[in-house]
Assembly symmetry: C2
Amino acid sequence: MVTVTQLREFIRYAWERAPAVRAQLNSVGMTPEDFKNLDDLVKIPVLPKKKLMELQRDHPPFGGWNAVSVGEMQRIFTSPGPIYDPQGAGEDFWRWAPALREAGFGPGDLVLNTFSYHLTPAGFMFDSALRSLECVVIPAGVGNVEIQVEMMKSLGATGFTGVPSFLMALIKKAEEKGYQFREEFNLRKAFVTAEKLPETMRTHLAQDYGIEVFQGYGTADAGCIAYECTERKGMHVGKEVVVEIVNPDTGDPVPPGETGEVVVTLLNKTYPLVRFGTGDLASLLTGSCPCGKETPRLSGIFGRVDEAVKVRGLFVHAQQIKKIFDDFPEIKRYQGRVNRSGYRDELELWVEPAQTDTFNSGLVARIKDRAREILRLRVLVRQVAPGTIKEESVLIDRRKWD
Amino acid sequence: MVTVTQLREFIRYAWERAPAVRAQLNSVGMTPEDFKNLDDLVKIPVLPKKKLMELQRDHPPFGGWNAVSVGEMQRIFTSPGPIYDPQGAGEDFWRWAPALREAGFGPGDLVLNTFSYHLTPAGFMFDSALRSLECVVIPAGVGNVEIQVEMMKSLGATGFTGVPSFLMALIKKAEEKGYQFREEFNLRKAFVTAEKLPETMRTHLAQDYGIEVFQGYGTADAGCIAYECTERKGMHVGKEVVVEIVNPDTGDPVPPGETGEVVVTLLNKTYPLVRFGTGDLASLLTGSCPCGKETPRLSGIFGRVDEAVKVRGLFVHAQQIKKIFDDFPEIKRYQGRVNRSGYRDELELWVEPAQTDTFNSGLVARIKDRAREILRLRVLVRQVAPGTIKEESVLIDRRKWD
C-alpha cells in the first residue's frame, strides 16, 4: 500500500518531469508540498480517457504525461482513439508478474500467450511478466486455433494467458479433433482478463478440464490494476497503484461497497498517470480477505460508466443485474426496470420463475438481499407471467424527465 | 570468421549436450577430435530441413538438436511443417543486431517492426535486435495498414523492418490518404528480408522517398545468416555462422561463384545446428568487398533448391534468369529454355527486343557475359519475333529423358 510520503515524493517527481501533471495540479493551485495525506489526491481533477486522447493529439505523442523521453522507452503501442501507450524500462513494466505468481505461474511453466503483440500492448504485458517469472512463452496471439492446439499438445504447454472465451475455443477445437483434453494436454493453469469470466465457466474449466483460472483487471494505459489471490474473492489492488472508486460526475470517492468509476494513480516513473479515469465501473469490497492481505479489493468490473444508469445517485449496470441472478437458477428470465415515482427513482426487478410453485416470499427476500449486497439499493421484486419480458436488455430505463 | 579451434570446441560442446549432433557425427564415425581443419565439416552429413522436421516429430520438441533444456529458453515458435524454433538466452539471440547496425539503426531510432510476432519468430528476431541497439520499437505486425500509416506519421517513426512489398503498401496508403510521404514522414531507413528486393524498388525508395534500404538473409531456424554492408554488393556472412554452398545431392561444396544450396553451421549454445541444409540457392561471390571486410559474401538468394533446374550439373533458377535481364531494359520479354542435344544440356535464352534495331551482336555478347557471370554457364541467345514467348514462366525445361 502506498504511504503519503511515497505519494508526495512521487507527485514531486512527476511534477518536475511531466508537464501534464504540473498543469493538472496548477489547475487547482496545488503543488507537491500540498500532499499532507492520501485524501489530498481527491483535490486533483480526474483525467478522463477522452481527455488523455485529446491531450495526446495536441501534444504528441503522450500529451505531456510521460516523465521520460521517447528514446528511454522500450516500445510504443496504440489503442483505439488513438491513444499511445508507452512501455518504459524494466522487465515487468506493466506489473502483471505478481498477479501471475499468485495464480501459480513460475519456473517450469510453458505458457501459451494468446494476447495480441501487434499494436496493442496486451501481448507484451503478459510476455514480459511471464519472462520475469522465468516461464517459457509461446507467443501465439489470436487466431490459428488449429495450430495453437497442436502446439499446446506437442510442446506440453502448462499455462494459458488470454481471454476466457479463447481458452474455451481452444479446448473445443481440441475436442473436435478427437483429443481427450484432460488426459492428453498438460494445461493446468490460466490467467484471464479483458473479458467477463462467468463463474459457471470457471467451475467448468476446473471440474471438467482440471484448469485453475485466475483473473485480473487492468487497462492498456495503466497495466495491471488489481488481481485475484488464491481465495478468488475480488481482486486485490496491486503495488504502485492507488485506486479510488468515484462518482464520475464529481470525482469524489463513493462509500465502500458503492459502485463508481475506477480512478487510478500510477506510481510509474515513465508514465505517471495521476487520477486517470478508466471509465470502468466497480466497487471496493468491504471486510478483509481470508488470505490475510490488507490491500483494498475490487469487485469484478461491472461495465463502462457510459453504459450505466444512475438510480437514486447510484450506478447500476446490466452486468450487476446479471450478477444478482447468477445465484438464482430458479429464475428463468429477469429484467431490471428503472421507473420514477414522484421525485424518487425506483428499481423494479421483473422475474419469470422457471416453475411458478418455486416462487414464494422467501425467494423474494433472498433476491432483495442479494440486490442490496450488489447494488447498495433497495429494489422491488415483481413476479410476472412467462413471456411478459419482451426486451433483450436486462436493464431498461423507463423514467420520463420532462 | 570462425577458426578451426572455435569450431572444434563448439562441436565438442554440441556433441556433449545435443544428442542429435552426437548421432550426426556417429553416423560417419567422427568425434569432435577429428576436426583438424575447417574442411573436415564436409565429412558430416547435411541435415535437410525435412529431416529436422521428422526428427522433431519423433523426439519432440527439438529432435535432440537443443543443447539446453526447454526451461532455459525464452520463447518457442513454430514454422510450417511444423518445425519448432527455440529462442535461447541473450538479448540478440538471432544475431540480427550487427545487420541492423550496418544499415544505420541505433539509439534515437523509432522503428516500425512489421514482422509477425505470433507463432513465427520473425517479429521477435527484429524486436530483440532493435532493442539491443537501443532503438524504440513499434510492434506492428502485418495488416492494419491504415493505423500503421497514422502511427508512423504521428510518432515520427524513423525506421522500418519487414518485407519490401509491405513498405511499399504503407507508402501507397499514405499517398492515397493525401500525405506527401517524403515531406511529412521521418522514415529514412529500412531493413528488409524474406522476400526478393528488386533493385528497381530499392532505387525508387531511395530516390523518391529518401529511404535507404538494406537487406539480409536468414531463416526461422537459424536467424541471421548474412547481410549487406554499406556497399550493398552481396551479403556478408555473419559471426557465429559457417556458410557452405554445396551440391544438394552430395553435400560437397561447389566452387566459388557456382550456385548451390546454402548449408549453415551455427555456433549457437542453445540450438547448435550443424550443416543445416536451408534449401535456399545462392552462390559465394568471388573477389573482395570494397568495404574491406574479408568475410565471405553471398549473392542474393535465387530461390529454392526444389524449384531449380540442373543444367550440366549446375543449378539454374528462374530468379537468376530474371537477374540477368535486370540489366537489359532493351529486352522486352525473355525466357530460359533448357534443351538436350545429344548427351549435353543446353540453356537457350529466347529474347524479344523492345525494338528490333537495338538488337545486334554486341548486345548478344553482353547478355552472354552477364549469364556466364550469374550462372557460370555458357548459354545460347536467340532473338525471337514478338509474341513467340507464350509461357508465363521465365525458365522451362524442354528436355526429354526417355
